[in-house]
Symmetry: C2
């Protein structure tokens, strides 16, 4: 699939940071940025911009805060742009530099549909500082249709460049991706639509392809699939699929070999039965992550049955 409008946002360090409290060593992050730049990836997301008054700096790695100096230690000015995520309600507006003084090009505002007004407020602040802005409506598989329609209608009135379809729970099948992709595209004329998939049911890459086919042009992925719990659409799979000559899979193969095969053994993201269960049942992965990390006296069947019945009234 060669469509020049397509752009990749690699979010290995940002989403992967949820597996290690954002404690990546700087040489690793520098190697990741360098490999992705060499591979022709369009944006690299290096972490969150969290408020240190809410999250003590000593409890996390630096990629939870993305101070300008830390970003400049690992990234350099080039065609590959730096992205940072800002969670609604977890930021201090005073922490954002004017864009002209920052290596960051894109801020992605992560929000739930119910907090869309706050997300737009934050997005407007970031636009005012000169950044590109994306709004990522998380957990779309838990949003009622009229609420989603209203959020999209509000976003259509903004000057934000990018709006994301986010399958936080790895629940959606291809037909639902098609339906939602069509909805986002028709509700948001003139904007670029993005897709962010989780891999609970091994559909992260496949659903990203479906989104491309429907006309979505901004594609999230992560190296070796690294991300929370089951992880994301794999950057190397996406690079292998896309035919744009600017992309080169080989630097990503190098950095996988140098760092991610070992990281994976240690941090164990990816397909596991508890993640499959929460994906299949459209649930938050919190309890599944605890089960995978700490083990459990519950059997898979007991866990499945508990989740199946927990919403019964």
């Amino acid at each position: 699939m060669y469509r020049p409008e397509i752009k990749i946002v690699d979010c290995t360090i940002r989403d992967g940071g949820l597996m290690n409290d954002h404690r990546f060593e700087k040489p690793v992050v520098k190697a990741v940025f360098g490999a992705l730049a060499e591979a022709g990836v369009d944006y690299v997301e290096l972490g969150y911009k969290c408020d240190k008054k809410q999250y003590p700096a000593k409890d996390f790695g630096v990629w939870k805060f993305c101070d300008e100096a830390d970003l400049r230690d690992v990234a350099h000015e080039c065609d590959t742009k730096v992205s940072v995520m800002a969670d609604v309600g977890r930021v201090d507006y005073d922490d954002f530099l004017p864009a002209k003084d920052s290596i960051v090009t894109l801020y992605r505002v992560a929000t739930y549909a119910k907090e869309i007004d706050k997300a737009i407020h934050l997005g407007n602040h970031l636009k005012g500082l000169g950044y590109e802005v994306a709004v990522n409506i998380m957990a779309v598989s838990h949003v009622l249709e009229p609420d989603l329609d209203e959020a999209l209608a509000q976003l259509a009135q903004t000057n934000f460049e990018f709006i994301y379809l986010v399958d936080s729970f790895g629940y959606l099948y291809c037909e639902q991706i098609q339906y939602l992709a069509d909805k986002y595209i028709s509700a948001l004329p003139g904007k670029t639509i993005g897709i962010h998939c989780h891999n609970n049911q091994q559909l992260g890459f496949a659903n990203t392809i479906e989104a491309i086919i429907r006309g979505i042009n901004m594609l999230d992925s992560s190296i070796y699939g690294m991300g929370r719990a089951a992880g994301n659409c794999n950057t190397e799979l996406l690079l292998g699929f896309l035919k744009n000559p600017k992309y080169d899979i080989r630097p990503v193969l190098d950095v996988i070999e140098a760092h991610f095969v070992e990281l994976h053994k240690k941090l164990k993201w990816g397909y596991e039965i508890p993640y499959m269960i929460v994906g299949n049942l459209n649930k938050h992965p919190r309890s599944a992550m605890a089960m995978v990390k700490d083990g459990s006296t519950q059997s898979f069947r007991e866990y499945f049955d508990k989740l199946v019945h927990e919403d019964e009234v």
Copy 2:
């Protein structure tokens, strides 16, 4: 997706046997058959019917030969039927009992398109003995279109029940599955079409869903994805997707917990970069399996470059 015509063929023991020379212990195979029967799975494929004159029995587990007594040690008569695979050129016609004396219901003839005449000859022999017969045309991503069309035209003239679309190299994307599914269905009126996917690019489950949407009704899968190299479409994912009330995912969760989590640590099927590379490049997984099993002095990049260029003339 609830369509009563849909049937699942679990091929864990057959395809998984390629990872351990068919050396599954009988209690494990019995547990697998029992779990799949309880789960409502329609067919369970327990191995190959290989000719012991070509393959010395001492070099393999019993599931390479599927002697009647071994099958009866692990399977019982019930709604879940026993399937066995017969490779063209690797069988002795005299090894097959009449169907009335066997617990086997279905023989699946595995063939390459170029050997379709031999496959039809073997299929006719098995039909004559009273079995259900499938023909699986392997490695379809290496077959020239006119040769495939001719093979399908010949199969249309047979009385075999099932014809399979087989993505042996895990190369196909959803659009190619759609194209081939439409071709098989229109070329083979009155027959049930099957799909067998490999998971090199994490598309095994997704492509099986695409096939269902296009009207394919016979679905191969394996428990925890166990199969050669990157493995297959996961039975538990498929059971979670299908809405037919006869299916129950929970016995499969039990058997994964009891056996397959450990087996996976030992035999290591599933997503690996060398398997991704051969899938992406439409190559046989042989060299990738050697690389994963034995390690290699080649880097991922060197391996990729070698395969990219090896067909250059």
